[in-house]
Symmetry: C2
Subunit: 333 residues, 2 copies
């Protein structure tokens, strides 16, 4: 293996100068720079990042913790993160928790060992006290999910508002019995969306019926199962608002199996606007989260924190938007 020493010897300069050529080129005269570069080239020299990491006590690696990388919602966010990370010479270490709280904690511990300079977590299901502690000790940004603690920098949409828009849309179309398939109840964003759903109903003088509220897990199957249950109700709903597009699509499948047509007999609204939402038939009316942008902003925020070395208790709220497609039908239709 060739080291800076070797290059220095060949170029007849000190190894400090070689180091400067690679880490702070402007500090070296053009002439010696060229000599060093040539020597490095001749020896096929490559910088050893390991040594630099130790010396600088940083890795230029960001850990991204998420529940499931094969969920398109999360992977889109990751792409946003990666694009900004790359521009700034950071790399992404993947922490797929498989929805496992133990793993979530374990990944967070990697920070202690200096594996990564910071974390972006797309999940926050471990107790919020622990998250706050970690965010105080290390460089951390929470995205999508968030916790009540004021001190953790967060990038997300307003979930109450998003759910409100979705529900109101169904109300405007004339629906009175509107079901809700929520995400896991221990996740705060599910709680918020439930709030938005309830508020929309209340605001329009529709009584909230607990039977119409089911808890899912964001996946296709859970949408199917929960919708099947809802359809068996004595007073079955005529519309459903699901907390993810995948559950919405699962729900549509259940509705079709039940012999009903979407949107003719039943209206469905999803959440997220993942790619398949526009491809599926009927195409899905859904609350669009700017996934890529969430990733971008989260990484930018983390970079700020990394550079200023001070945590800023920033909460960035991005806009969600109701995208109207075919799964609800249209007024006066």
């Amino acid at each position: 293996m060739t080291t800076m020493k070797d290059v220095a010897k060949l170029a007849k300069v000190s190894d400090a100068t070689v180091s400067r050529v690679f880490s702070d080129p402007d500090a070296v005269s053009d002439k010696t720079k060229q000599i060093v570069l040539d020597a490095a080239d001749e020896l096929n020299y490559e910088l050893n990042v390991l040594a630099r990491n130790l010396r600088k006590m940083k890795t230029e690696i960001i850990m991204v913790i998420l529940p499931d990388i094969s969920n398109p919602f999360f992977s889109k966010i990751v792409r946003g993160i990666e694009s900004v990370a790359m521009e700034n010479n950071y790399k992404i270490l993947l922490g797929d928790t498989k929805n496992d709280l133990v793993l979530e904690k374990e990944y967070l511990k990697n920070l202690d060992q200096k594996y990564a300079d910071g974390v972006i977590s797309l999940t926050a299901r471990i107790d919020s006290k622990l998250i706050r502690e970690i965010s105080e000790k290390y460089n951390m940004v929470l995205a999508c999910e968030y916790i009540d603690e004021a001190s953790v920098p967060t990038v997300s949409i307003d979930n109450v508002e998003g759910a409100y828009k979705a529900t109101k849309h169904l109300i405007n179309l004339g629906h009175k019995r509107i079901a809700h398939i929520s995400g896991p109840k221990n996740v705060i964003l599910s709680q918020d969306r439930l709030k938005g759903y309830k508020k929309a109903l209340s605001d329009h003088n529709i009584k909230i019926d607990g039977d119409l509220i089911n808890e899912g897990d964001f996946g296709y199957k859970s949408g199917y199962k929960n919708m099947s249950k809802l359809l068996k109700l004595d007073k079955a709903p005529t519309a459903v608002f699901a907390d993810s597009d995948q559950m919405a699509i699962g729900a549509i499948k259940a509705i079709k199996s039940h012999g009903l047509k979407v949107p003719d007999d039943f209206a469905v609204v999803g959440f997220d606007n993942i790619e398949i939402a526009s491809i599926y038939e009927p195409s899905l009316t859904t609350v669009c989260q700017p996934m890529y942008e969430i990733g971008v902003k989260a990484m930018q925020l983390l970079l700020d924190i990394l550079e200023k070395k001070e945590r800023e208790n920033i909460k960035i709220k991005l806009e969600s938007k109701l995208i109207i497609r075919d799964s609800c039908g249209y007024k006066n239709n």
Copy 2:
């Protein structure tokens, strides 16, 4: 920051002993081990991975290079990789090339800098000579895609055979004019699937018609566009075999827009068996690739290479399977 030195001082042992407690516990007596552990605990000591990495000249990080992490096909493979990696204390560094050859090369260069101990590449579009070179110099496994060079360890299915099965299925259902929407032609697996498609036709005395063969890029939109073209042909096809489920779904959408029904008027076969294939309506007949298993095997193979320090020119072939669902109809229907 607390170091081994601090722990050593508190425990009244040498720092070498502290090191042994964490890297080779059996080499230390139970008694001193306990003393050290207690001291470490008291000081909240955490091993500094950076220093260890430099000393051992390894990172326990594997880089995974792929075209697009938000493509469910790749992200499923990543999950397989990660599960094995984790068991063996390796971490995954993400290298999303965005289908960009320049990035593909750039990521590969990270190996030179010792960012990662090895690579698993799910893409091989840069020239094969370079890939062979890299694989000879470093620890590398190719998965899914592969190149002709005999020397690169590879995990994949038999694409010729998979395509053959798909095409033959359509032939068995009575179709004579069978279109093919292929992946990018510069990718060897596309070439292989084209071979399988052609062979199936030839074996059943159906003339190959170049007009029926279109090149796509694996995405939804490209399936839609290519199918739209095919439907405008004077002698339009009655069935299509697409190189990805996403293109197949795009094709179905085009067929429906054209006023035809799937499977009644038109049969469609996809490739991969991603999750949406079974959810979409009509559910998709497709060639199933064992994505998770590909990831698992690829990581296992890489571990072998890493441990034995010798490249083994292994080609692992996994089974593909035709999954029959609703998008082609059924015989005597």
